[in-house]
């Protein structure tokens, strides 16, 4: 089964107290941020902190992601140099607008892997799309590199770029979300949704999670550990869905054993997509 990325928990790369034991909340992925949550004065210290953390702290097998500063800033290059060496699982690019943006960083990572004696291709990448141009180029971005494991939407910058603001209904994000999703699926990579900043509003949060799950997203960026439970719950199949899926797999098994070609269950034809979905439901259910 493809890697679970239901929750990607943000940690500011400048806070030792959070970095040291963030794994206790068991998100599917941890994103150490060197970019927007770190002040300009502390870009260097955050870099060292995350580097040492990655090399010394046992993150219990949780996927580690580092969001570097863009190459268009004075920090991006140094971030890459130190981070590739520290070997997180994924390097996340902010504000990606074109396939070129990804390829530029990919080249640097490749050179660094060679220099440090790291297996070529080991460092994966993720691209965050946060502008209208990026959204329009989602397809080329999603296909730009073998290292790319997913694309994400960064809503705050995007809606500002659109000259509007975020609403609970999220209509202003619908196009971007769908565009990203389709691009991700076309390229066979993951699609992650943006953060929800109102930590106290658990109801609003749940609505948004249900909405993006319905659209087809793989998961969501999380800014507070308290949000993790809701996302994992929403992404967990219900008992009915689980039992239905088991029935489908049973039907397939029976059909295979009896050598019959077409499979039907309860009067409905079961073809490949349905089987795929059923398999995924069973696997997701087993997690919980």
């Amino acid at each position: 089964m493809s890697k679970l990325r239901r929750t990607m928990l943000y940690v500011p790369g400048s806070r030792p107290s959070m970095i040291k034991d963030i794994y206790i909340y068991k998100p599917d992925a941890i994103m150490f941020d060197l970019e927007d949550s770190v002040s300009l004065k502390e870009k260097d210290s955050a870099r060292f902190l995350v580097s040492e953390a990655l090399q010394n702290v046992d993150y219990r097998g949780i996927e580690t992601v580092v969001r570097i500063n863009g190459l268009d800033t004075e920090f991006g290059q140094e971030d890459l140099k130190m981070m590739v060496k520290a070997q997180p699982d994924v390097i996340r690019l902010p504000k990606t607008e074109t396939a070129e943006d990804v390829k530029e960083v990919e080249k640097i990572i490749e050179d660094l892997e060679l220099e440090y004696g790291i297996e070529k291709g080991k460092t994966k990448m993720m691209a965050a799309i946060e502008s209208a141009t990026g959204v329009m180029n989602a397809m080329e971005i999603a296909k730009s590199s073998d290292r790319l494991i997913g694309i994400a939407i960064g809503a705050e910058d995007y809606v500002t770029n659109l000259k509007t603001k975020r609403t609970p209904e999220g209509t202003e994000l619908l196009f971007a979300r769908c565009q990203l999703l389709n691009a991700a699926r076309s390229a066979g990579i993951a699609a992650l949704d943006t953060v929800y900043s109102y930590v106290e509003n658990m109801e609003g949060f749940r609505k948004e999670v249900e909405h993006i799950k319905g659209l087809g997203f793989d998961g969501k960026s999380i800014i507070n550990p308290r949000q993790i439970e809701t996302v994992h719950e929403v992404f967990t199949p219900t008992v009915e869905e689980y039992e239905d899926a088991l029935q489908v797999l049973e039907a397939i098994k029976r059909a295979e054993e009896s050598g019959s070609g077409v499979i039907s269950l309860n009067g409905k034809m079961i073809d490949k997509p349905i089987v795929e979905r059923a398999k995924r439901v069973v696997e997701l259910s087993k997690i919980n």
Binding site: K20, D21, I24, Y25, D58, N224, P225, R226
Partner: protein, 483 residues
Amino acid sequence: MDKYKIDFKDKGKITRKSKVREDLEKVIDELEIQDSMTISFHHHFRNGDVVGDMVMKILDKKGIKNLTIFPSSLTSAHDHFGEYIKSGLIGRICTSGLRGKLGQDISSGILEEPVVIRSHGGRARAIISGDEKIDVAFIAAPHCDVQGNANGFEGKSPCGSLGYAQVDARYAEKTVVLTDDLTEEVAIPYSIPAYDVDYVVEIENVGIKEKIMSGATRAVTNPKELLIAKQTAQVIEELDIVKNNFSFQTGSGGSSLAVTKYLRDSMIKKNVVADFALGGITGHIVKLHEEGLVKKLMDVQSFDLSAVASLKNNKNHFEIDASYYADYSNTGNSVNRLDVVVLSALEIDTDFNVNVITGSDGVFRGASGGHSDTAAGSKVCIVVAPLVRGRIATVKEKVLNIITPGSTIDVLVTDHGVAVNPKRVDIIDKLKNSKVKIMDINELKEMAEKITGKPEKINYTDKVVGLIEYRDGTIIDKVYQVK
């Protein structure tokens, strides 16, 4: 017979106000307090306590020496008491808790005689059995009438239950009540009955209002505390404890406090009503009571104004004294009826022994409280704590000092995993097939050490600065002076 004959002119005037005095110093003179006596006071006013120091100042001025002070506990209000030790006023201390500057002073050896640390139940036992004889009890009361009936839930600075003080009043040679709300009207219901009181002194402020208690106990938002609390509530549920008429006690700090909220969710989901909640009562527990989820509240210490209001107004919110609460020798004590208690810990070792009195540097920074009492009495005792605090491991090979023996601790819930005392085969069985993953406590210890690095051993001298007395009166550990 003559003694009781009253001249008709004096009828109705004699006993009504005869105990009232304006001047605490005059009362102290009248009491003829001498060197080496034992005086007591309570800590229901917590950091806002002023009476303890008020009494000390006067006694110090009079040149009294070598007193045993026997408060129910010591707080930051008593931080400067080291001065009274240096002046020779204090020669011995018995308390439940010792922290802050005074804790450091004692750990560095300024007191010749070791401090005796007792639990709340243990203190009551010591008083009732006569092991400790109180010569004078000074009791600060928010509300008192001229005859000496006092309570803690009325007046301008209420503190709620006076549970710890009730035992003092009953057994002390002499009892002095100090209040800033003296009334002619009879103070019923009383916490302290007039017949246990010898003197009533009116003072300006019985406590520093803002420091006594908060308006409301804060809601827990710290994600780590919530994580631990949620896991604890899950354990409680899997152990089948949440059933109609169950009883519980939760603490007032961090994770322990948050457990109350998750317990509530569980009770609502299962349509369960608890028989009673015990302890330190917070507004969170009062809420459960007022929602009809908990039938009765047994209150030995009220933690916020919400609890105080409830004590005053809710007829099923009862004030209980320290002996009824937790005294090992009291055949009717409440801790023996607890189904579950959730406690905290500074340190816990691989034998499940718990230390809540000294920090990992060997210095006094905590309190015995009701820890060992509730652990021993309850059916299931759960300790909650983060695996590591800063750079200090909570789980280690051996605790520096034992307050609660491991045989009474059943489950440890940390943010890194849950461990069960191997003796509790029944609990292990129940949790084996549940969603709660159990780890070996040694695994947790290793994990903690890997994170913090191995600490150096604390260097002590030979001088004993503290004796830890278990609830049955036996000394179970000694605290040594830190070098």
